[in-house]
């Protein structure tokens, strides 16, 4: 962990500008992935709606900066709050149902959010998106924008890590394993699921806001369910049962999509093939795969040691 942080700190000095930009994108996606994974991996709640909350955060920042000329920090700080509020409303409806119905509800809400963004021309600029967002000049000096993202993402991921390893996180995992049993030991399952939904939305809002700052523009497609599947794939690629999964998944996913799209215009085809391979052969993602191999190696070494001693 410390090694990774050190590496990330010196990145702008070592790599080219476009590479730094790429890693910036990876960081933001990693945050979105970790936020989603709170619900997905730890809560067992499959949602097609994360992109909706992500877009709410992005648009909150964008609209505050352009329409209302709000100070930068207010715009960025408001995004997760707005996203959390929307998440609370949407989540309240969604957690009333489980499994496939929950997923369909999140899909419906995500598409409603997309429709609102798309149609409410006066407020959101509709399908034109909002471009040339006034980001403070200081962020464009050197690699400041990279450090900005890095700092916020690092803090958020740390907070998420603490949440996951807290009693709340443990209860959430218990709910994932067996909701009925958890209900029997007097845990208010719906309330925990709603809390997970809202926390997830909060951090998704931050990710969206960061991307708005990074890209300088926002578009309705940020809310589309296809973007949600991008996030789901990121989590799956890395492994939904490990905390580091979405982080690794984000890096690999963005790398692969950039590399593939540079080499062929049919990158979706190859992405699809990779995903099929993933689902069939590497269900626990790359981190899960690695963890499995490492523990098998360890077992073999321990077994060898045991035999020597006896």
């Amino acid at each position: 962990m410390i090694l990774v942080s050190l590496v990330l700190l010196i990145v702008p000095f070592v790599f080219s500008r476009s590479m730094v930009s790429l890693i910036n994108e990876m960081l933001i996606m990693a945050l979105a992935g970790c936020a989603l994974n709170l619900m997905l991996g730890y809560g067992g709640m499959v949602s097609f709606g994360p992109a909706g909350l992500y877009a709410v955060g992005a648009y909150a920042t964008a609209i505050l900066l352009t329409k209302y000329g709000a100070p930068f920090f207010v715009a960025v700080l408001a995004a997760p709050v707005v996203a959390a509020i929307v998440g609370a409303i949407v989540g309240w409806f969604c957690v009333r149902r489980s499994a496939v119905y929950f997923a369909l509800l999140t899909l419906a809400f995500a598409q409603i959010i997309w429709t609102i963004i798309f149609e409410w021309y006066d407020f959101t600029n509709g399908d034109n998106g909002i471009v040339s967002i006034p980001i403070p000049e200081v962020l464009y000096v050197g690699s400041n924008i990279y450090y900005f993202s890095l700092a916020i993402v690092a803090v958020c991921i740390f907070v998420l890590w603490r949440i996951v390893n807290s009693p709340f996180g443990a209860t959430l995992q218990a709910i994932r394993e067996n909701p009925m049993r958890t209900e029997f030991i007097a845990v208010p399952v719906r309330r925990y699921q709603l809390a997970a939904f809202v926390i997830s939305s909060f951090f998704l809002g931050i990710a969206g806001s960061l991307f708005c700052v990074f890209a300088g523009s926002v578009f309705p497609d940020y809310a589309h369910w296809v973007k949600s599947t991008d996030m789901l794939v990121v989590c799956l690629l890395g492994g939904i049962y490990n905390f580091a999964g979405p982080i690794v998944g984000s890096a690999v996913y963005i790398l692969i999509s950039k590399v593939i799209s540079k080499n062929t215009t049919y990158w979706m085809f190859f992405l699809g093939i990779i995903i099929v391979f993933l689902v069939l052969y590497m269900r626990n993602g790359m981190v899960g795969f690695a963890a499995e191999k490492i523990s098998r190696l360890r077992n073999r070494l321990d077994a060898g040691k045991g035999e020597d001693e006896s």
């Binding site: 997905l40 499959v46 409806f93 009333r96 149902r97 499994a99 496939v100 119905y101 997923a103 369909l104 509800l105 899909l107 419906a108 809400f109 598409q111 409603i112 429709t115 609102i116 798309f118 149609e119 409410w120 369910w225 296809v226 599947t229 789901l232 794939v233 799956l236 939904i240 049919y266 990158w267 979706m268 085809f269 992405l271 699809g272 093939i273 995903i275 099929v276 993933l278 689902v279 069939l280 269900r283």
Partner: protein
């Protein structure tokens, strides 16, 4: 609005709804029996559309080519579906829902780009075939004949499928497997083969819809995404796994789409989703489905 305009709108909405019914029926049957929500169903529909276009354009010198396409394209699509089921879907039945979604989503990506490779990004049109081109006068109003033809197709398929399910031994086998897979297996029914057959039937329906739609609309990339969302809404309203539900849901959605623009134009796109949410909250098993 005048009566003519009203009925014209309603009819056009319902005829689109009928095509959507065909796709949604396939989706619903596949979910009911295989318990898999096939995200790639829209892509299968789109492939049907492209096959229809290819046959009608390349073999345009054959008279009545559209009807030949209508005969053969859905069969080809069903075969493709069978291959997908045997090679890919079989391996993920035992897994969680999430992996099934992601796998079928991957199929959307693969299928979409394959179509793009063969057909490019433009949209293609197919002429309305004789003898159902032109307009018919009914009750003093003029309607496109093809719309009525589509409604007829929808009704015929609905009745045919219902009859198949209820009165044939094949239908009993499918219903048995839908109801309880283990018991059906214990009774000697070859469940994997039934799964493949049902998936092929669903794909056939989607391919049929894909062939029927082009004369009324266009064949284009992206139609898979648009269609799959509409189908989700239909099966939620009607009830996952229920055939009459899909029929009812399709009619409701068709009418909602046709008239929504007149009620509140800005929110028209959101109406179907709002209805979907309402149904999921108060009656998740749909209007005609059964609670689990």
């Amino acid at each position: 609005m005048t009566i003519e305009a009203l009925t014209g709108q309603a009819l056009s909405g319902i005829s689109v709804g009928m095509v959507l019914f065909l796709i949604a029926a396939g989706l619903s049957i596949i979910f009911g029996t295989l318990k898999v929500l096939n995200l790639a169903h829209g892509t299968i529909y789109m492939v049907g559309g492209f096959l229809c276009y290819i046959l009608t354009s390349k073999l345009a010198h054959i008279p009545g080519i559209f009807w030949w396409a209508l005969l053969f394209a859905p069969i080809a699509v069903a075969l493709i579906g069978g291959v997908i089921e045997v090679l890919l879907l079989r391996r993920i039945y035992a897994q969680e829902m999430l992996y099934q979604y992601i796998l079928t989503f991957a199929l959307i990506l693969i299928g979409g780009d394959t179509c793009r490779f063969f057909f490019g990004v433009g949209y293609q049109t197919v002429a309305v075939p004789w003898p159902v081109n032109g307009n018919i006068a009914l009750w003093g109003l003029s309607f496109p004949t093809y719309n009525l033809f589509l409604i007829g197709c929808g009704i015929v398929v609905f009745l045919g499928l219902s009859a198949l399910m209820r009165y044939t031994s094949l239908g009993s086998i499918v219903r048995a497997v839908t109801h309880n897979r283990e018991t059906a297996n214990a009774l000697g029914i070859n469940v994997p083969r039934v799964y493949t057959g049902v998936f092929m039937l669903g794909s056939y329906l989607a391919g049929l819809a894909g062939t029927l739609m082009p004369p009324m609309s266009v064949v284009a990339l992206g139609s898979d995404m648009a269609v799959i969302i509409e189908c989700f809404i239909i099966v939620v309203i009607g009830g996952l796994g229920s055939l009459p539900g899909a029929f009812l849901g399709a009619i409701i959605l068709g009418l909602l789409n046709a008239f929504g623009i007149y009620i509140i134009p800005k929110l028209a796109l959101a109406f179907p989703f709002m209805l979907m949410i309402v149904i999921l909250i108060i009656r998740p098993w749909g209007l005609l489905g059964k609670p689990e």
